[in-house]
């Protein structure tokens, strides 16, 4: 399995999360317990001392001292952690055989102190207290001590337990995480198996949404819409090839037929002249189709408009209208330009798109009517819309009008130079500028236009 495996990565992340959680909780727990444990020896010492304090203080006779001695011995035997030392000038009133080290310590300040005895790994917690002389008894230094070894050991074993628990927990979390991830990823595996079945030409199938967890909805929806586009492109490509063949076939048929007829018998020079001229017209038509197709192909391959200049679109429209002036006059159609905006354009390309848009509008406008060209600055883009009054276009045709060779009436009337690529070229030019095309048909007017990034 590759290191990219989602299950492996998830289990790794589970382990990390577990590590973090155990560390935090363990650390807090340890601190809390440590604080508690640190107070325990002092509490113990205090408790022991308070029991003995009055007995020691009250009496000063040797008889009593012997009793106290016995009691102290008993206590230290009962609980091995406890130690008592009594230091004074008179050896009779002493306890615990204090050596020089203890004596030196006992002379130190009163109160709770730590005593490190040689030969002992852990310090004693010692309460040093003082009793004034009473009767025969000289003043005493009374040392109540408790060995902290057990506390330290408890703390140590707590730490060990915490660490080993955390380790086991982390291992468990990652193993369980891996297992859970595998189960959770099952729908994905199923999905990829299903997607594998959808290859051309079996593109009509779609991934089913209902059986899938909602998290995959978006992915499946976009996958399906990609499939939609691929299928559309695929079928468009097929029909495009058929259209190309058709468009090329009719001029070729004319060329071959006419030439054959002319050659079947001797003809006058005028007749040959006539045939050659007609052939030339057909050939020019072929050339123009091929050139347009090459232009579209280069746009398809992602060729971009490179020689961009910032230009006033109203001026470009005006130049185009100047070019189309005679055509407009012949068609008795007027054009009104509204608005202006600046955009970076490749002027020759844009001019071509404008000519095609306007020419398309003129062809569908009756004499005496008005065409509007609206130029708008829409912030992030500019739009040029060419609007002409005309019969409404059915909604099903609208998205396809910019496709190659698309004609609303299926009977393809092959009208001279107009070979059905004009609007496709407009779209290609928009794409080359990083823009889009749009078409609307409403309230008896039809609008074709392009949006260009500003």
């Amino acid at each position: 399995m590759s290191t990219n495996s989602i299950a492996l990565r998830l289990s790794g992340m589970f382990a990390l999360v577990a590590l973090l959680v155990f560390l935090l909780i363990g650390w807090a727990l340890y601190l809390q317990v440590d604080k508690g444990l640190g107070l325990l020896p002092e509490a113990e010492v205090d408790a022991r001392y308070s029991v003995l304090e009055s007995a020691v203080q009250r009496y000063g006779t040797p008889e009593h001292w012997a009793k106290i001695n016995a009691k102290l011995r008993l206590l230290s035997e009962e609980d091995k952690r406890l130690r008592f030392w009594v230091v004074s000038d008179n050896p009779t009133y002493e306890f615990g055989n204090p050596d020089a080290e203890i004596r030196a310590f006992a002379k130190g300040p009163l109160g709770m102190r730590d005593l490190n005895l040689s030969g002992h790994d852990y310090p004693f917690k010692v309460l040093v207290s003082q009793f004034p002389a009473k009767d025969q008894r000289p003043p005493l230094r009374f040392l109540t001590a408790v060995d902290t070894e057990t506390f330290w050991q408890t703390q140590h074993s707590l730490l060990v337990a915490l660490i080993s628990l955390a380790a086991v927990g982390i291992l468990l979390a990652s193993a369980l995480g891996y297992w859970v991830a595998r189960i959770g990823l099952k729908p994905l595996t199923a999905l990829s198996l299903e997607a594998r079945k959808l290859t051309p030409p079996r593109l009509s199938g779609r991934l089913k949404l209902s059986q899938l967890p909602p998290e995959l909805d978006q992915f499946v929806t976009s996958f399906n819409s990609t499939l939609d586009r691929v299928e559309q492109a695929y079928s468009r490509l097929e029909s495009f090839n058929a259209d190309v063949a058709h468009e090329l076939r009719s001029p070729l048929t004319n060329l071959i037929g006419q030439t054959q007829v002319a050659l079947t018998r001797g003809r006058s020079a005028e007749h040959y002249f006539e045939v050659l001229q007609s052939n030339l017209e057909e050939l020019e038509r072929l050339r123009s189709i091929i050139n347009d197709m090459l232009f579209l192909a280069s746009a398809d391959q992602g060729s971009k408009a490179t020689q961009l200049t910032q230009a006033s679109l109203a001026q470009e429209v005006a130049k185009t209208l100047d070019y189309l002036d005679f055509i407009l006059e012949d068609a008795q159609v007027q054009v009104e330009v509204r608005g202006d905006a600046n955009a970076p354009i490749e002027t020759a390309h844009l001019r071509r798109a404008l000519i095609n848009l306007l020419h398309n509008a003129v062809q569908h406008t009756s004499p005496g009517q008005l065409i509007h060209v609206d130029i708008r600055d829409e912030g992030d883009h500019v739009s040029i819309g060419v609007t002409n009054p005309g019969a409404p276009i059915a909604g099903e045709h609208l998205p396809k009008l910019f496709e190659r060779f698309y004609r609303v009436d299926a009977s393809r009337s092959n009208s001279g130079a107009n070979h059905g690529l004009g609007l496709a070229i407009v779209k290609a030019i928009a794409l080359m500028h990083g823009g889009t095309v749009f078409v609307r048909s409403e309230h008896g007017v039809n609008t074709f236009g392009i949006n260009l990034p500003s």
């Binding site: 091929i290 050139n291 280069s298 070019y323 002036d325 001019r351 020419h359």
Partner: protein
């Protein structure tokens, strides 16, 4: 004027040879790159027409080797019309560039542009039969009668008159009059010619503006047979 055609495609080479000879050029043909380069280096040519796809040494190779020694103007021909090819050709020192399929008239126009003598003065007045054109005052008369032309019609007439006797394709007319150098669905040139013809030839016996079907238009005085 001597022209060298380096082209391996037989039909293309043949019609270029015939067509250019008829246009008054002396033409030599080479069928492959190394032979063409040899001829280009050995003889003096006014222009070389060079195909890109050639056996032996390709068009770019010929151009590079030629430019190392000579500055003869070169028009490159290619079937692959993409921008990279064009840029490469021009960078290697080609003077002009035509993508196949190209029109023969276009090629002749480019040839003339490359060989036109510099320093020649543009005429200020042109006459064709009884037509007089004054390019400075932008007035035209026929048989002494003022022709009422719009600015565009006058531009069209002067473009045709400057090249009288020469067939101009619709594409080159569109380029010279409107600066539009691509095919468009709109038959603007046809409509413009029709209007010009109505004013120029309509009221007169002798017709000056002729249509050459499939090729273009020519302004010339033809003797009535």
């Amino acid at each position: 004027m001597r022209v060298l055609i380096i082209e391996d495609e037989e039909k293309t080479a043949d019609y270029l040879h015939r067509g250019l000879t008829e246009q008054g050029y002396t033409t030599d043909v080479a069928r492959e790159g190394i032979e063409g380069l040899h001829m280009a280096l050995e003889s003096e040519y006014a222009v070389i027409i060079l195909d890109v796809m050639l056996p032996g040494l390709d068009g770019y190779g010929v151009l590079r080797a030629l430019r190392a020694r000579k500055q003869t103007p070169v028009i490159m021909l290619t079937a692959r019309e993409n921008v990279d090819d064009r840029i490469r050709g021009l960078r290697e020192g080609a003077d002009d560039y035509l993508g196949k399929p190209f029109s023969f008239l276009e090629l002749v126009a480019r040839l003339q542009a490359l060989t036109r003598r510099s320093g020649g003065h543009e005429p200020v007045q042109i006459s064709v039969a009884d037509l007089w054109i004054d390019l400075i005052s932008r007035k035209a008369t026929r048989a002494g009668l003022r022709l009422d032309l719009t600015a565009k019609e006058f531009s069209l007439l002067s473009v045709l008159a400057r090249r009288q006797g020469e067939i101009l394709s619709k594409t080159s007319i569109a380029e010279m009059v409107w600066d539009v150098n691509f095919d468009s669905d709109a038959n603007v040139v046809e409509v413009a010619i029709k209007r010009l013809r109505a004013k120029l030839d309509g009221p007169f016996e002798q017709k000056l503006l002729h249509t050459i079907r499939g090729m273009g238009y020519v302004l010339e005085s033809r003797r009535v047979d």
